[in-house]
């Protein structure tokens, strides 16, 4: 079995009356976005998006407003139909299934959380959370039990019989998360869930959410316009611009090796201390021994996955460079110059490590 829970292959979305015509021309002549708008009056929302998300992974899609990230994520549960391309969930092609099968997939395998909560104002918190189960015709006693459990997961026990309007924004969004978890789906789609909340609540919910997903092992697509958030939460990040995925990579890869100027501008302000690991700034120990005459006798040791923060702590104690180990074997060395350059990010210390 393939490990990919969600797999998108060359997905296109073109908006407009003549979308299919435009799509055919794009495929044949490879015209760009402005030409599509000019010749067909159609807007390209998503342009050739391909990625895989594996089980238990949090995959962040980061982009500014209008970059097509919300459009892209709505293809996964086909709230938006793709103009071209293939979308697979757990190995099934959802672009080909019938309406009733699609509804079953939505109800059983995908939970979604929305930026503006989208709770039903006339239902209690409990009935909101139970709604996906109600759609699946689960008995009332069962769905009340499940929704109470889901509300417990997000620390909302005791609020079951309130109406959404009685809750604060942060609490409402926790109801939204509980609703998405209630049907125990394989996949979570998070459409900018924390953007409308104030910063403190946001941090709190990010941590809570990360812990929850790790515990429940949900495969998550997380949309955000905030790179900090993407880095805090995501195992991998896709950066979108004007409907195109510019770069996909781990937070470290994105920060250390931005694909283009657009991404570079984004990562400029990001703190690297917790992000950059020792292995990405070290030089191999053989190389060090060959070119350097400094003694490594009383050098401290750190694992290759230690971050810059930990390396600084070690470096403060000693004048010697730090030896980096992999599986308790010495593999590389980080001296002060490399460490400082690493903190600066981007600029290379020795030059040979480029």
């Amino acid at each position: 079995m393939s490990d990919a829970v969600v797999k998108l292959t060359d997905v296109w979305k073109i908006f407009g009356d003549r979308a299919n015509e435009a799509m055919a021309t794009v495929k044949k002549e490879g015209i760009g976005k402005p030409e599509v708008l000019e010749r067909f009056g159609c807007v390209v929302g998503v342009q050739s998006a391909s990625f895989e998300v594996s089980r238990g992974e949090i995959f962040c899609i980061m982009g500014l407003s209008g970059s097509g990230k919300s459009t892209l994520v709505r293809h996964v549960n086909r709230l938006i139909d793709p103009t071209a391309g293939k979308i697979e969930i757990l190995g099934h092609d959802v672009s080909a299934v019938s309406d009733s099968a699609l509804r079953r997939i939505r109800a059983e395998q995908i939970g979604m959380v929305f930026q503006h909560m989208a709770l039903m104002p006339h239902r209690t918190v409990r009935d909101n959370v139970a709604y996906p189960l109600e759609i699946r015709k689960v008995s009332k006693s069962k769905r009340w039990a499940i929704s109470d459990h889901a509300l417990g997961l997000v620390d909302l026990t005791g609020y079951e019989d309130r109406l959404p309007s009685e809750l604060s924004g942060g609490m409402q969004q926790r109801v939204g998360i509980a609703r998405a978890l209630a049907s125990d789906p394989e996949i979570l789609l998070m459409d900018e869930p924390f953007s409308a909340l104030d910063p403190l609540i946001r941090l709190q919910l990010q941590d809570q959410f990360k812990a929850l997903v790790a515990q429940l092992k949900k495969t998550t697509l997380f949309i955000t316009h905030d790179l900090d958030e993407a880095i805090r939460i995501g195992h991998r990040i896709a950066i979108m611009k004007d409907g195109v995925i510019v770069q996909i990579g781990t937070p470290e890869e994105i920060v250390m090796n931005p694909a283009d100027d657009y991404v570079r501008e984004f990562v400029q302000g990001i703190s690297k201390l917790k992000l950059v690991k020792a292995h990405s700034i070290m030089i191999p120990i053989k190389e060090f021994l060959a070119n350097d005459d400094r003694a490594l006798d009383d050098a401290p040791r750190a694992d290759e996955n230690a971050d810059l923060d930990q390396l600084i702590d070690l470096s403060v104690e000693t004048y010697s460079p730090i030896i980096i180990t992999e599986n308790n074997k010495d593999v590389g060395v980080v001296d002060k110059a490399r460490l400082l350059r690493g903190i600066q990010g981007g600029k290379d210390g020795g030059g040979e490590n480029d």
């Binding site: 939505r106 989208a118 609703r179």
Partner: protein, 526 residues
């Protein structure tokens, strides 16, 4: 990163110079012909600080409405056309008119009678007759002299009227000259906002239109009011002559021909669709009969008790007491049976309105195209005076209570349709999307999300429909509807003030009770 900051020049407000070049070019572009004069005039207006800028447009004063037309200021064209015609009519009356003509005619008639009497006097043989006729002639002569004097006095007023007319004309002309530039400058300001929507420049098309309109209107009016005050062709539309021209001599009028044709069409349609119309009437009658049986067939204490308890449960004790008092008024004055008939009529109408209207409203709320198509029909249903569609109702459905209910439905259904559609469109997209994302089918979406969220709006629509139906059930007494409306119609026909007012109050109380109960019920549901 640091860009050289451009130094911002700060100038005191008093030192700021007005840059005329750009403004002048724009004024010229707007004005078109004769730009320099208007540039100067607009400058004067822009520089003025007083109440009224001191500018005078000689063309506007001389040409009057034609100037306004040439600059496409149609509001000014019409107002000054009317004012100038008024002045010209006065002038015309002064010159050609004959203000004393009527009196002069009378005086001449009286003079003739005097001559008659004098002839008779001279022809008479008896002294008594001679005296009598002479006295009569003298009296008549006095009256005739009086009339002559009055006629002459009025004739003498003619120069006065002429002077007034001239004075008025000068005032109007001066006024046009003074305000023309200011009005035109206002127009220029509007033109700056959206040049494509405001006509600019002096266009031949507009001048011609202005001249044609003036030529068509002014001479006829002036002629009618001055030279000839009794010109048959201008007094009434010659419809008989036109009818003869179109249909041929002796074939009646266009009106009668068209009316006959329509009558035949309607009769044919009523005959052809007889089964359908009878079926509709039968269905409506079934609903009405059921309600009537429940309200009138049940013992009256039971019905009263149920109504009072309903009022209590839905709207509280105060409304319940008011309801009891209203019911007592109705029952004590002997209106019980007819009032319950009215309630049954309203109930049947509202029931049918809701059963038909809410699904229609849901459909219109979901389909923009259907709503666009239905909107004119809804407008027609609401704006058409009830009297007008009573006629086709009679033609197709006959008279009595069921056709009355159909007329009531036509009048009462639009609000519930409109407000249901409005409520459906007001359901936030995000909530609908969330329901779909969790796998809701169309039916589940409608039942769980759209209708509950649209419910307040739908309820408002139902309430309005109830009130409109109530006002209509009085009118349907004209086509044989029963209930309190019939009582009032009878009172109206005999100008019976007492019974009419008592019946009117009964309807008023009924309406208030229904409104209170329904609103209370809706408030509870919210």
């Amino acid at each position: 990163m640091t860009e050289p900051q451009e130094e911002i020049k700060v100038t005191a407000a008093s030192d700021i110079e007005v840059d005329h070049e750009e403004l002048d070019a724009s004024i010229r572009e707007f004005v078109g012909a004769n730009g320099d004069a208007y540039v100067a005039a607009f400058h004067k207006i822009h520089n003025a600080t007083g109440v009224m800028p001191n500018t005078f447009n000689i063309f506007a004063a001389l040409c009057g409405p034609i100037w306004a037309a040439s600059r496409a200021i149609w509001g000014m064209f019409w107002s000054f056309l009317i004012l100038e015609i008024f002045a010209w009519v006065q002038i015309g009356r002064g010159i050609w008119g004959n203000p004393g003509a009527e009196l002069l005619e009378r005086a001449e008639r009286q003079q003739a009678r005097v001559q008659q009497m004098l002839d008779r006097a001279s022809a008479a043989t008896e002294q008594a007759d001679i005296d009598r006729f002479t006295t009569l002639a003298a009296n008549l002569q006095k009256a005739a002299d009086n009339s002559f004097a009055q006629a002459n006095a009025m004739q003498a007023e003619a120069p006065m009227i002429l002077m007034t007319g001239l004075f008025l004309l000068v005032i109007v002309k001066a006024l046009q000259g003074f305000i023309a530039n200011s009005v035109y400058e206002k127009r220029y300001s509007n033109w700056r906002i959206d040049p494509s929507k405001v006509e600019s420049g002096r266009q031949m098309r507009n001048i011609i239109l202005g001249v044609v309109l003036t030529a068509a209107i002014a001479p006829l009016i002036i002629f009618k009011f001055t030279v000839n005050t009794n010109f048959l062709f201008l007094d009434a539309f010659p419809e008989q002559a036109v009818s003869n021209l179109v249909l041929g001599e002796g074939k009646g009028t266009l009106f009668s021909a068209l009316a006959d044709w329509m009558e035949a069409r309607i009769d044919a349609a009523a005959l052809a669709g007889g089964d359908v119309f009878n079926g509709v009437v039968a269905a409506v009658r079934a609903v009405l009969d059921g309600l009537t049986l429940a309200l009138i067939g049940s013992p009256w204490p039971v019905v009263m008790l149920i109504i009072c308890v309903t009022a209590w449960r839905s709207a509280g004790p105060r409304v319940a007491i008011f309801t009891a008092a209203s019911l007592a008024y109705i029952a004590l004055l002997g209106y019980w049976a007819v009032a319950m008939e009215t309630v049954a009529l309203v109930g049947a109408s509202v029931l049918l309105c809701v059963v038909i209207g809410i699904p229609l409203g849901i459909w219109f709320g979901k389909s923009r195209r259907a709503y666009t198509a239905a909107e004119p029909v809804l407008d027609l249903m609401q704006t058409l005076p009830a009297f007008v569609y009573l006629i086709p109702i009679i033609a197709f459905f006959g008279t009595g209570n069921p056709p009355g209910i159909l007329a009531t439905i036509i009048f009462g259904m639009p609000p519930v349709i409109r407000l249901t559609a409005l409520g459906m469109r007001g359901v936030p997209e995000s909530i609908k999307e969330a329901a779909v994302a969790f796998g809701a089918s169309r039916w589940q979406l409608l039942k769980d999300v759209e209708i509950p969220l649209a419910l307040p709006s739908i309820m408002t629509g139902v309430n309005q429909t109830i009130l409109m139906c109530l006002s209509m059930v009085v009118i349907i007494s004209l086509i044989g509807g029963g209930g309190l409306g019939k009582e009032i119609l009878e009172a109206l026909q005999y100008a019976a003030k007492g019974p009419g007012l008592l019946g009117g109050f009964a309807i008023l109380f009924l309406a208030m009770v229904m409104d209170r109960i329904v609103q209370g019920a809706f408030r509870q549901n919210r």
